[in-house]
Assembly symmetry: C2
Homo-oligomer: 384 residues x 2
């Protein structure tokens, strides 16, 4: 195991995937003096528009990924969709894959994640592995008539997730033959999220726990720190995220999405092993952004401070609305509120699509939240 | 004159010059969703290493600059060295040059700057235009035997500046035939710097006035806000910077370097019309960094808030020392102090060369200053 005092030999990081997360790693790499290369599906993808070095290729093409990986010192990811056999082939070739295949499987396969977290004793909703219609009917009965069903792989932002009260509602998923995950409908009071970075040698750094609000399965607003969360509970949840990172051998950022229950305890909802939407507030609200932190971990550099800069930070997603020209939307929003910090992803506008986010920091959470929501609405909708 | 409510049509900004200032504009452009192109002298220059779009060409080659300018919506600069005839040719072709030739001349020619500021009534040191040895001897006599002599053009970071007590000491400069600028040796208590951004339509936004410390003519440390500066004096100096920006028709960032006298009044030392070393603290210490602000002004977008995030911010330059590998230096520094935020420029290390800077923010200026100086020393020198 490497110690924190060993020099890092990673100077070029390769990011597989050309989405906005890869895009937002680029400014951090520039500041850190690290070279960064992006493997994108096309030259119009979010990160491909701005990276100095872009290779075009599919993350599902083993040869393309291997050639890309051979040209960098460490490989990391914009998303979780690189197949396990490709990851394992890279590792067999001695490539530094961060996070590695053994860790990443827990962000790729929700059944593997549930099994492992349960085995480790981390708090999960009641869940069932569904291999047949009979399993589904049993789960429905045990759960009281309604459950959440998720495809184990490939879901995101509400895709591959269904709340059902009859097995018929996911008959088509069952027919595909892959096992499904069923979970109780958790009576949560709100959703929380915990971000933690972990280096290869084991150093971890957790961010303050945040509150996230979803709309139609998509993250809409994040408040950092989570309003009303006691220092004890914050420390407890950070500790949980750190233990999960350690238990799963994560390298890079880990986001643990959580349900908060009425008694203040939490259950783990999902895991992501990369910078995560619920951590975007850190770009303007923290000493070290999650993007810099991810690259620090991947390059095996010491982790930066996760201290917030101000008492309240809010992030509001820009979800595609009626306005096509987001720079123009931002012009109007900043004219109204010069403290709104806008981050655009260079993506074409489609209804509900994540096309950017706006951050605001200040002294009072209610105030910055109201301002953040107003700024976001101004940017995405042209009818004001 | 454009009003603040007119849409901006600038979506691609061309930066002439490939140094670290152009480099640090790139992250800001990515976040703003603006495209940025760099005209660099070679592909190894600081910004050329990281920009998505780089053109190779000299800023003194009229055809290269014109071709570059024709491919973007507005042109701005990494430095002040583009010749006036090239700037004027661009403007004659209808290119948006920001700042324009009429403004930029005041950052290119110290004699023009002194004449204009004096004419406008802005506070300057006593100064003399030197066209002959006799002028120099008269200035020496009037100033009491010692003066500062500066070449009107081409000087930077202590180059082209000499403190003399005899005309013989700059005999070679005189022989070149260009007029020189002579100035009294100002008995300043410290150096201050005021940054202000100005849009084409006239909107201005000034940053808190900062204190800067020079070593051997090179900026070493900046404290923001300037310790002990009263709110009245800060407002007065911001106002001075705003008036100079307005009077000279600056578009983009203007840095006004100042001498503070024992009675608290100030004299203008030099002007720079671009993001400036004394404004680098804003990258981690302010709602809007000077790089984002510069691009906002150049793109004619509303200016962002210049509010500091914390009571104290310090920037310490990384000046080339005994360590070649600055990423390794940064590794050690952040292990010691995880709050030190490092910015590297991708430049080869030479003694005293500016190769990066480190920012720190906090509650107490003395504490963050001590930590910033220690972090910078750790990064550049290998003997610890």
């Amino acid at each position: 195991m490497m110690t924190d005092s060993a020099p890092s030999t990673v100077r070029t990081i390769g990011v597989v995937g050309g989405g906005q997360l890869a895009r937002m790693m680029i400014p951090a790499a520039i500041e850190l003096g690290l070279d960064i290369a992006v493997l994108a599906g096309s030259d119009t993808e979010s990160a491909a528009q701005v990276a100095h070095r872009v290779e075009i290729g599919s993350h599902e093409d083993a040869d393309a990924v291997a050639a890309f990986a051979a040209s960098v010192d460490a490989v990391t990811f914009d998303h979780e969709h690189v197949p396990q056999d490709i990851l394992r082939a890279l590792e067999a070739d001695g490539i530094a894959v961060r996070p590695g295949a053994d860790a990443l499987i827990h962000a790729q396969d929700k059944l593997v994640m549930r099994e492992r977290l349960t085995e480790l004793g981390h708090p999960c909703p009641q869940w069932w592995r569904i291999t047949s219609r009979a399993d589904l009917e049993r789960a429905l009965e045990e759960a009281g008539g309604r459950i959440v069903v998720k495809t184990a792989r490939g879901g995101y932002d509400g895709h591959g997730v269904a709340v059902i009260s009859s097995a018929d509602e996911v008959a088509d998923w069952l027919e595909r033959g892959d096992d499904l995950l069923a979970e109780q409908l958790v009576p949560f009071t709100r959703e929380l999220s915990a971000q933690v970075a972990r280096r290869p040698g084991g150093q971890v750094a957790a961010y303050p726990v945040v509150e996230s609000e979803q709309k139609d399965g998509v993250c809409f607003r994040v408040a950092a720190p989570a309003p009303g969360l006691s220092a004890e509970r914050d420390a407890e949840i950070r500790g949980l995220a750190e233990r999960i990172a350690e238990d799963l051998g994560v390298v890079g950022m880990l986001a643990v999405e959580l349900f908060e229950l009425a008694d203040g305890t939490v259950l783990v909802n999902e895991l992501a092993m990369r910078p995560h939407n619920t951590g975007h507030w850190s770009m303007d609200g923290c000493v070290t952004s999650q993007f810099e932190q991810h690259l620090r971990a991947v390059a095996d550099l010491p982790l930066g401070s996760t201290e917030p800069l101000r008492p309240a930070a809010v992030m509001v997603n820009l979800l595609g609305g009626t306005r096509e020209d987001l720079v123009e939307g931002g012009r109007i929003a900043v004219e109204q509120d010069p403290s709104a910090t806008i981050h655009l992803y260079g993506k074409g506008v489609r209804p509900g699509r994540k096309v950017g986010h706006v951050n605001l920091t200040g002294e009072d959470m209610d105030e910055v939240t109201a301002r953040g929501i107003r700024a976001a609405a101004t940017i995405v909708d042209a009818d004001d």
